[in-house]
């Protein structure tokens, strides 16, 4: 499996670490209600189909959001977290 690093181009999967859904980038405000924090910390969708994952490319230190299909395993693109959202 290969992933497109916004900094380095297509690289072997073994250079990356997957952290889970890209929802982790949507941090609630500090004073958000506990439900918002619970949702942020613990609750994730489990989509069959298009998904956005958070990956870390260790060699260059870039965090990226990868657009991927969990059914076909097709990787359709990626965005640096720094530039996303």
């Amino acid at each position: 499996m290969y992933l497109p690093c916004p900094c380095c181009g297509w690289r072997d999967m073994r250079e990356f670490t997957c952290i889970g859904a890209a929802d982790y980038c949507d941090r609630p405000e500090a004073d958000a209600p506990p439900e918002a924090w619970d949702n942020y910390l613990h609750l994730r969708d489990n989509p069959a189909g298009p998904a956005r994952d958070l990956w870390y490319h260790a060699p260059c230190g870039t965090w990226l959001e990868v657009a991927r299909d969990t059914v076909t395993h097709a990787v359709t693109g990626s965005t640096a977290v720094e530039e996303a959202g």
Binding site: L41, G61, W63, H73, V81, E82
Partner: protein, 974 residues
């Protein structure tokens, strides 16, 4: 060699090769496989079957072989389950049969065959039910001993394996007529091509038949194509290479046999595990002939017709008198060609009523083989033609039940193949694996002409996708006969008919499975073990599901196939793990003082990937604790030196660095004065402690964060995430500088004297102060921090000066009555002071648990703040950090022990806490421990019982403050 005729395209007849089979010396030729050499020596009995221990001979001439699995003696050990059909002969080769005792001809376990009526599918689930307790103690061990194909060597596998990577535009899998045409077309177009072939020789089935291509012999045509491919610099030929799996992103797993066929492999590895990444791939793996399930079809001498032809043509093996039992036109044509070439065809039997042929041998249409005879090998078959039985004496029965496209690789991503009624076989659908398409016989195009044409077409399509221009290809002329068959999945007659030879599964077992409710193909497979042997049912799965369909009344496509999973051929764990044994298992990180520490005799212990000295032994030491006590004494009484370079060091620089650190630490770092250091705690976003360490402000916009050795990578990754996800546009940069600096702790009452020698004058640094220093011409950094509770410094220099600095500091310390100290002493020193490590920060611990709730700023947001205030993360029900002292100071305690109320039973429900760290303190003359105990802070003085079931320890301990030594901290401050 009794059964060898002239010729043999694979053989070098001038080169005799001596080998041993089951202790008997035999002679073969260079170019033989073990199977062909055995057949040439008239050895048909090559092993015993799995369950009934029936005599078995070779069925096929390829990697799909279910029967001829042997043990190969090599490299001072042996390798089980080697396929004799794939193992090339070399001088001195030693092979043994498996699954028999005392010999293959007289196997005691063959008695199982007499009990066959009791050993049907699932017999052990039914038979060994009662009494219940017998299963674990008696039945299972006995069954385990009797079961299994082959045996494992007890020794470690020390044979060499290698791992390699390859990249190409187009991977061609298989080198038959299709594969050669694909490679030729793509090669001429300039594509970067890899042509992988499992066999030693390229050519596939063209090597095993006599046909003509383009007016020349098929083999000559193959040689011509290979000559052109070899001359093309953009084509790589990989013989002896099996592609065993397809993975995401055009990655293919491949296994190359590199040295196992060599008498003297030298440094050549046994096998090489390849990861091939291909932009496009074409599966030209051909098709596998299937046997016919008829009574007695497992006797040595019963082979596939294609295998008989291969052994005849490539290895000049005379099969003797041959009865051919086929249900298709290809079988009939083959028999005629073989007869023309001089093979003795005793009869041709075809279940089809409506076929006839003008053959030079007896032709029985509407016939079936209903029985075979011959104890250790075939002597005679019984045929039934329109109700009348007769016997034919023969040496070989050649079966042809039609052909199955070899499509497994197209199914590795989960897609299922489709049923093609015309050829009564499953074929792949396009697009089942992105970038991989099947061509030729692998998708049911069986004639040579069709394969050649399909190869060109497939290559053209791939080249178009690769953006390359396809060359004009002239199709060679070749045989283009039609292929017609009438499926015959089982001959209904008295007696056992085998489907899966390797696992001893008969048609009755499959029918029984259906009767007993295991009617889905996946259930049937597991109930009968059909297709679960090393050959993975390559020659039997199709037959089994056809029999299942018959038994359940469904059609074959309705019944469906089982799941195809990698690997397609057996792959040894040694090959998959090539390069990752011993020191190759993971990288080793060594400090600049590593050589010096080892030279001083220090045993090294792992800390993450790092190696650090455990202690520095001296002559006369009783044990490691003598050294540890001495080194602890250095620090408490004179001065000790320790390499602390393994701690993570992260430079955080820029105008927003302070603001950023405020966000990742619980405390406030932006108000730290330049030249000051602060202890800090980082939380995970879920409110638990991630790591602790120091943060120094080197300059206005220049901070240095230190982490623990173990968490350095995790913290760096975390900081980068926080910066990139939540601090967009902030002006700061992060860099790991762990390996740029060598850092030495100098600790103890005389630490200043040592530094005075190094620096000339010791800067007047307050506790938790920092200043840049000059050591001669070298710019260094001096921190006044302490992990020992003594007056201490850490002196950092660029890594290239680390070794010299360490040596120098140790010599100075020794001159003052101190010396180097290792991890054991470091651990004692920090436990005496109640300083925490990741033994305490175990991922479940909050700042509150550690008594550090005061370090959590209430004036700002920081990572983990919201979650750390959740109910349940603070309160008396939490396990909190405490110190432990045993009532008997000499009662040893160890980390991992559990703590109970004095009278409570030692069960999980009564655990009040556990010991996280423990040591003997030479300073205080007692054992000490740190522990996490429920409501521990409020229970100082309480007595608990410590139990360590693993080490058999049990003693009374009392809870106390975790800081045992110098609680006011005067020794490190003043």
């Amino acid at each position: 060699m009794k059964r060898r005729v002239t010729g043999g395209s694979a053989l070098d007849r001038g080169r005799a090769v001596r080998f041993h089979f089951d202790g008997r010396e035999m002679t073969g030729c260079r170019g033989d496989t073990l199977a062909s050499a055995l057949l040439a020596n008239n050895v048909r009995l090559m092993g015993r079957s799995f369950k009934y221990h029936r005599p078995r001979g070779v069925l096929t001439a390829g990697s799909e072989e279910p029967n001829a699995l042997v043990e190969l003696k090599r490299d001072g050990t042996f390798h089980p389950n080697i396929r004799a059909t794939l193992q090339e002969l070399h001088s001195g080769l030693e092979a043994r049969v498996q699954n028999c005792w005392p010999s293959v001809r007289h196997d005691v376990m063959a008695v199982n065959d007499l009990f066959a009526p009791f050993l049907s599918a699932g017999f052990y689930y039914k038979t060994f039910m009662w009494p219940r307790a017998f299963w674990e103690r008696l039945y299972e061990p006995v069954i385990r001993r009797a079961a299994g194909l082959g045996r494992l060597p007890r020794a470690h596998d020390e044979s060499l394996h290698e791992r390699a990577f390859a990249f190409c535009d187009l991977l061609v899998i298989g080198s038959g007529p299709t594969g050669l045409m694909v490679a030729l077309t793509a090669g001429r177009a300039g594509a970067d091509v890899i042509l992988a072939e499992e066999d030693r020789q390229m050519g596939g089935r063209l090597l095993s038949q006599a046909g003509q291509i383009d007016g020349q012999g098929a083999e000559d045509w193959v040689q011509g194509v290979l000559a052109e491919l070899t001359a093309l610099p953009n084509v790589r030929l990989m013989p002896r290479t099996s592609i065993f799996g397809t993975y995401d992103g055009g990655v293919f797993g491949a296994l190359e046999r590199v040295g196992q066929h060599l008498a003297e492999p030298g440094l050549a590895p046994r096998e090489c595990y390849w990861r091939i990444t291909a932009r496009r791939a074409i599966l030209a793996s051909g098709a596998l002939e299937r046997p016919i399930a008829h009574p007695g079809n497992d006797r040595p001498g019963v082979m596939l017709l294609s295998a008989v032809a291969s052994y005849w043509h490539r290895w000049a093996v005379d099969p003797g008198r041959v009865v051919v039992f086929g249900n298709n036109d290809h079988a009939l044509a083959s028999a005629q060609v073989l007869a023309d070439q001089g093979m003795q065809i005793a009869a041709y039997i075809d279940p089809r009523e409506d076929v006839a042929g003008d053959t030079p041998f007896p032709f029985h249409s509407g016939g079936e083989v209903v029985a075979t005879r011959g104890r250790h090998g075939l002597r005679e078959v019984t045929i039934r033609v329109r109700g009348r039985e007769s016997r034919i004496a023969c040496d070989t029965l050649a079966l042809s039940g039609g052909w199955n496209p070899t499509l497994a690789l197209t199914c590795h991503h989960g897609a299922r193949p489709v049923w093609d009624e015309a050829i009564a076989a499953f074929v792949p659908r396009p697009g089942m694996v992105p970038g991989l398409e099947a061509a030729g016989a692998a998708r049911g195009r069986f004639s040579i002409a069709a394969c050649l044409a399909d190869g060109v077409e497939a290559a053209q399509a791939a080249l178009a996708e690769l953006g390359l221009k396809a060359p004009d290809m002239v199709l060679p002329e070749a045989e283009d006969s039609a292929y017609a068959l009438r499926p015959l999945w089982q001959v209904k007659a008295k007696g056992r008919a085998w489907l899966d030879f390797a696992n001893d599964v008969t048609t009755k077992d499959v029918t029984l499975a259906a009767q007993e409710g295991f009617a889905s193909v996946e259930h049937m497979k597991r109930y009968t073990t059909q297709g679960m042997a090393p050959d993975q049912g390559k020659s039997s799965n199709m037959g089994a599901l056809a029999v299942l369909a018959d038994a359940t009344g469904g059609s074959i496509p309705e019944t469906g196939t089982t799941t195809f999973r990698p690997p397609f051929v057996p792959v040894s764990i040694g090959a998959l793990g090539a390069g990752a044994k011993g020191a190759g298992f993971r990288p080793e990180r060594r400090t600049t003082s590593d050589a010096q520490a080892r030279a001083m005799g220090a045993p090294m212990i792992e800390a993450g990937l790092w190696y650090r000295p455990s202690y520095f032994p001296q002559a006369g030491d009783a044990d490691w604790r003598t050294a540890c006590n001495r080194e602890t004494g250095f620090v408490r009484q004179t001065v000790g030196v320790c390499d602390v370079s393994t701690l993570g060091k992260i430079a955080v620089q820029g105008p927003d660095a302070g603001r950023f650190l405020d966000f990742v630490y619980t405390g406030t770092m932006s108000r730290l004065a330049v030249g000051r250091v602060r202890y800090g705690l980082m939380l995970r976003e879920d409110g638990h402690v991630m790591d602790d360490g120091t943060c120094a402000r080197l300059n206005e916009h220049d901070y240095l964060v230190t982490t623990t050795t173990a968490a350095a990578g995790e913290v760096m990754q975390h900081l980068e995430f926080v910066q990139q996800a939540f601090c967009r546009g902030w002006q700061l940069r992060l860099a790991s500088v762990t390996e740029n600096w060598a850092q030495m702790a100098v600790a103890g009452p005389l630490a200043g004297e040592v530094l005075g020698h190094v620096l000339g004058e010791v800067p007047d640094l307050p506790f938790m102060g920092y200043c840049p220093v000059q050591i001669g011409a070298v710019a260094g950094r001096l921190f006044r921090i302490s992990f020992s509770g003594e007056k201490g410094y850490e002196l950092a220099v660029p890594a290239r000066f680390g070794a010299d600095l360490f040596r120098h500091l140790v010599a100075l310390a020794e001159g003052l009555g101190g010396g180097a100290y290792g991890m054991e002493a470091l651990n004692v020193l920090r436990i005496e002071k109640g300083f925490i490590t990741h033994a305490e920060i175990d991922g479940r611990v909050t700042a509150f648990d550690l008594g550090m709730q005061g370090m959590m700023s209430s004036k700002k947001d920081f990572i983990g703040r919201a979650a750390s205030q959740r109910p349940g993360l603070t309160g008396p029900e939490r396990m909190q950090l405490v110190g432990l002292r045993p009532s008997d100071p000499q009662a040893g305690i160890a980390a991992g022990a559990s703590l109970f109320q004095p009278d409570a039973p030692a069960t999980a429900a009564h655990v009040e806490g556990h010991v996280t760290s423990a040591c003997y303190s030479p300073t205080l003359g007692t054992w000490l421990g740190l522990a996490l105990v429920v409501n521990g802070r409020a229970r100082h003085g309480a007595r608990l019982r410590l139990e360590d079931g693993l080490r058999g320890q049990r003693c009374e301990v009392s809870l106390c403050d975790p800081v045992f030594f110098d609680p006011e901290g005067g020794r490190m401050r003043d």
